[in-house]
């Protein structure tokens, strides 16, 4: 019995290490390409380790293989001048932050109506809302585009941001699940003291819900940051592009400039990875809640 479990442990470690290697390699390849001078790229196998040129040459002499290369920031410099990446960065941040604020305010407000308040028809409307999550975006995107067009707001951030202020089903669901765990006595006591519902939402329920706010904030930020179809439909002028759209356009125009493409892709990914490392627990909690049954 003991022997079997030791063999199992070793096999488990072996599998985990091998798979980790497979999952990390694309990231390493992304960063390495962004730092590598173009001439190194025709070497097979490509050098992977950034190092000073002297060390790279020494290693090459030693092994007969070009394993290391002298890193350069030229792709970043050239990528940043070729397309206004910093402007796209600003646009994306603006959109994502406005989406986060709108989603937290509106979705928690609506969720309050679906959880703390009791009224006839509440659950029927709630489940009807959940059912529409099955609706493909393609069904609504054309008429929605025509609405924004008739308002003269195509090629502004409004179509990307305003819907977030009208509540989104998934985040309403997340808030509702959390609000249902808040003790009823607390709400009742506040009502006895004469607090109105608006006040209870703002002063009692929201302060108690920081974990839910963190989850919704995080995922709506990701949604706003990564959205591609929205900007693709609505944004026309390059000065308003987001990173997703900018990188896609860059890829169609300069498809063979892999160093620069990887530099821009790295710049787009780094903020997300940093946020992840600060909010890992919140991420995991959010995903678990999304898979929870009602």
């Amino acid at each position: 019995m003991k022997k079997g479990s030791r063999a199992k442990t070793i096999l488990g470690h072996a599998a985990l290490i091998l798979l980790s290697f497979v999952y990390v390699t694309p990231f390493a390849w992304l960063v390495t390409t962004s730092l590598q001078p173009d001439k190194e790229r025709s070497v097979v196998p490509p050098p992977f380790i950034p190092a000073p040129e002297a060390a790279a040459a020494a290693l090459e002499k030693e092994t007969g293989l070009r394993l290391a290369y002298e890193p350069t920031l030229q792709h970043y410099a050239r990528g940043l001048t070729r397309v206004p990446v910093l402007l796209f960065f600003r646009n994306t941040t603006l959109v994502a932050v406005l989406v986060v604020i709108g989603t937290i305010l509106s979705s928690s407000f609506v969720a309050y109506g679906f959880s703390i308040l009791r009224w006839r028809g509440r659950d029927a409307i709630f489940f009807a809302m959940l059912a529409t999550m099955m609706l493909p975006r393609q069904v609504t995107m054309i008429p929605a585009f025509l609405i924004w067009r008739s308002l003269g707001l195509v090629d502004t951030f409004a179509p990307l941001v305003v819907p977030a202020y009208l509540g989104s089903p998934f985040f309403i669901f997340l808030f509702r699940q959390f609000f249902l765990t808040i003790p009823k006595d607390l709400i009742e006591a506040a009502r006895m003291d004469g607090a109105g519902e608006l006040r209870i939402w703002a002063r009692i329920v929201m302060p108690l819900s920081t974990p839910a706010i963190a989850v919704v904030g995080l995922f709506s930020f990701l949604g706003g940051w990564n959205d591609f179809l929205g900007p693709l439909i609505y944004l026309a002028d390059q000065s308003r592009y987001t990173l997703s759209l900018g990188l896609a356009m860059f890829s169609t125009q300069y498809g063979s400039e892999y160093g620069q493409l990887m530099a821009v892709a790295t710049l787009m990914t780094v903020p997300i990875v940093i946020i992840f490392f600060f909010a890992q627990k919140t991420f995991i909690q959010g995903i678990k809640t999304s898979g929870m049954k009602m």
Partner: protein, 304 residues
């Protein structure tokens, strides 16, 4: 408090949703249904044409192709991603040293912006200089030398026979979300069940088959439905990696062709008909999956 004032308060709180819903869901759904029976290029008012759009689609080879491509891709990508996530979750659930680090590594790809990961994978899958083929070539050389075969490293994104496989492969990189769900579900399986099975002499496979899989089947079912719905709408990666469904329409996915008809050719009526057919396909696929897997989903002993 009387009932009607409670009702009013309820409506007040959900009013943002009611506005958003009316404007951006109910109206668009009805409008796109109407447009699907119209000839509509935005520039002039919609002209009702009856079933002409649907008839045109029925005879449009590219449309049939896009539907077929999407269905085939879904049939492979959904199980591939679920299986990958399940294997990773099983390994993490062994609770070996370094579990937190491994979990981070496996999860991270799933939050990389889709456009960024697509651009990265174009480069990884490059026929001549891509990392995948660089790693594959020596292996194929050995195989060819030993078996006398003539295998060549494939042109993943340029050879129509390989593009869908390449996209399926890429999709198995970003399975972190399902993996976390499976891992949580595995952790919730009561240890007593395993102990009882061991006393009865069950081995690892039987425990996995008769205890673990039934106990996590609700989560498997949930992810199956969700990934089915999203894969049928596959768009971002295809738009970036295989523009216009190149090569040879092999990656002309449903949503890609729909987008082109709507926003490149301004055939809003035709695209609306496509959208409605997609909706029907999604509902039908969901119902079929629901019916055929329901009896395998075990809702007992959840303790919820």
């Amino acid at each position: 408090m009387n009932r009607s004032s409670e009702f009013r308060k309820g409506l007040l709180f959900i009013s943002p949703l009611l506005v958003g819903f009316t404007l951006f869901t109910i109206y668009p759904v009805l409008a796109s249904l109407y447009y699907s029976f119209c000839d509509f290029d935005i520039l002039s008012p919609a002209q009702p044409v009856g079933l002409a759009n649907y008839a045109e689609l029925a005879g449009d080879e590219r449309f049939i192709r896009s539907l077929w491509n999407t269905l085939i891709f879904t049939v492979f990508a959904v199980p591939a991603t679920m299986l990958t996530a399940l294997v990773l979750a099983f390994l993490l659930n062994m609770k070996l040293k370094g579990q937190a680090l491994y979990r981070t590594i496996f999860f991270l790809p799933s939050i990389v912006p889709l456009v960024a990961s697509s651009v990265l994978w174009i480069w990884l899958l490059h026929t001549d200089y891509g990392l995948l083929n660089t790693a594959l070539r020596p292996i194929l050389d050995i195989v060819n030398a030993v078996a006398g075969t003539q295998f060549k490293a494939p042109g993943w994104l340029v050879d129509p026979d390989y593009t869908k496989a390449a996209l399926v492969l890429m999709s198995t990189w970003g399975v972190g979300g399902s993996m976390i769900l499976y891992l949580a579900a595995l952790g919730d399986v009561p240890v007593t069940l395993y102990e009882a099975a061991e006393i009865d002499g069950a081995g690892a496979w039987r425990k996995a088959w008769h205890i673990t899989l039934p106990m996590i089947s609700p989560v498997l079912f949930f992810t199956l439905i969700m990934s089915l719905i999203s894969t049928l709408q596959y768009f971002d990666q295809a738009w970036v990696m295989t523009p216009n469904g190149q090569p040879g329409d092999a990656t002309l996915f449903y949503a890609l062709y729909l987008f082109a008809n709507a926003f490149l050719y301004l055939r809003m009526g035709l695209a609306s008909a496509q959208a409605w057919i997609l909706f029907v396909v999604i509902v039908a696929a969901t119902v079929v999956v629901f019916r055929s897997t329901r009896r395998f989903v075990f809702y007992g002993g959840e303790g919820l």
